[in-house]
Symmetry: C2
Subunit: 220 residues, 2 copies
DNA sequence: GTTTGTGAAGGATTTCACAGCA
DNA sequence: TGCTGTGAAATCCTTCACAAAC
């Protein structure tokens, strides 16, 4: 809030809700490259330089940013540190988020052990399964609990994100349970097209499907 | 698809390869749901029923399919078995593909052990790393080789797909090496925006970025 | 001089709506 | 009857181009 706070001149004070999803999905990209630039000591950057790094047009970057405010200065570009902070705040990355994993088979354990979440502020604070032989065991000091405790855990531990790593056939019912427990977002590793109500975001991680569309271009 | 087998009635006489990427990316979704329908003994399906399953409009499904031919029958819908076979052929999924993994740290080993690739026809036939302490070890009977052998291996083993699981800082140079070795497609797990020439497709798997865009919608 | 922010233009994708066929 | 395939319309997204600001 400190330096040169620029109020959006659009409408009211709260964030506009008509930002296209595609724009929101690019913001983490900007955060990442800006963070790298800041780490290498660069403090101003133009949309053209950002476009070179990200292989996109400067106009798109400027347009994207313009949905949220005016962050640049004509003739100079953007202040790297200020912009990265602003974007993190817009994305809600100026705080940490609690997540749980459902499904502690091979995949769930690999996700639980993945060291990339914590440095970005995503803390895995609970793990669930329905398999009695897994319940009570621990993975990286994270005890595996019965799925029947999920509602209580989500509320007690302020869990906003559910990570689904169960077999395809179980995924929709697990997702229903997460929604019912009051989760806000789901990262789904199960190879299914799952459905959530409008107020719950879901994103799928599906390497097989990614491969299956690339083979189209593998003319041989 | 090779030449000839699909004729479109478009006025433009030249062979049209202009199927939008976004359409190609939805085809694996259709293959998956059609495969499930076939397994449950259903042999005809309408675009409306498919739309219900996939949460998309029937018109979009019909439009997507129309890029490749006329597969349906008015009043009846689509023959499930015939359509899934046709789509698999279009995507190149009527054969198997060899892949290699570069980077056999924690993530690379998890990918190598993932049992979801082989049933879909993606065979991981080689693994590479630069770490001398890993080279010579095996993961699930897959020997880890020196990255310097990659060019030879890609050609000898007919490897079309490279899976990148190295740290961010090493990713672009590994990708350059894969391109140089003659790979056709890359599945990149490293959190970087990497660049490839136009003839090499690349797709990124980045769970952290997926989370970072969902938090935008979690602001309470 | 440089570069932003943004209306307008252009392009891509989705949806509509209905002719045509089983 | 029911449903596909597809031009046209509508919507969404990207790029252009330039006034304004530094």
């Amino acid at each position: 809030m400190a330096t040169g706070s620029i109020q959006t001149t659009h409408s009211n004070g709260s964030d506009d809700v008509d930002v296209p999803d595609v724009v929101v999905e690019r913001l983490p990209l900007y955060v990442r490259v800006l963070t790298a630039l800041a780490a290498s000591g660069i403090d101003m950057v133009s949309s053209e330089q950002l476009g070179d790094q990200l292989h996109m047009t400067p106009a798109q970057i400027r347009k994207d940013l313009s949905y949220f405010g005016r962050f640049g200065k004509q003739g100079r570009g953007y202040n790297v540190a200020a912009l990265v902070n602003k974007l993190k705040a817009i994305l809600g990355l100026d705080r940490s988020w609690n997540a749980c994993i459902v499904g502690m088979g091979r995949l769930g354990r690999a996700i639980a052990s993945y060291p990339g979440f914590a440095p970005e502020g995503f803390k895995i604070v609970a793990a669930f399964d329905t398999d009695q032989s897994l319940i009570g065991t621990s993975v990286d000091n994270l005890p595996v609990r019965s799925l029947s405790h999920i509602r209580q855990a989500v509320q007690e531990d302020d869990i906003a994100i559910g990570i689904v790593a169960v077999p395809a056939v179980a995924a929709q019912s697990v997702i229903d349970a997460l929604v019912d427990a009051g989760i806000g977002a789901i990262l789904n590793y199960a190879p299914v097209t799952a459905h959530t109500p409008d107020h719950v975001k879901i994103k799928n991680i599906d390497p097989v499907m990614s491969l299956q569309s690339m083979t189209y271009y593998l003319k041989s």
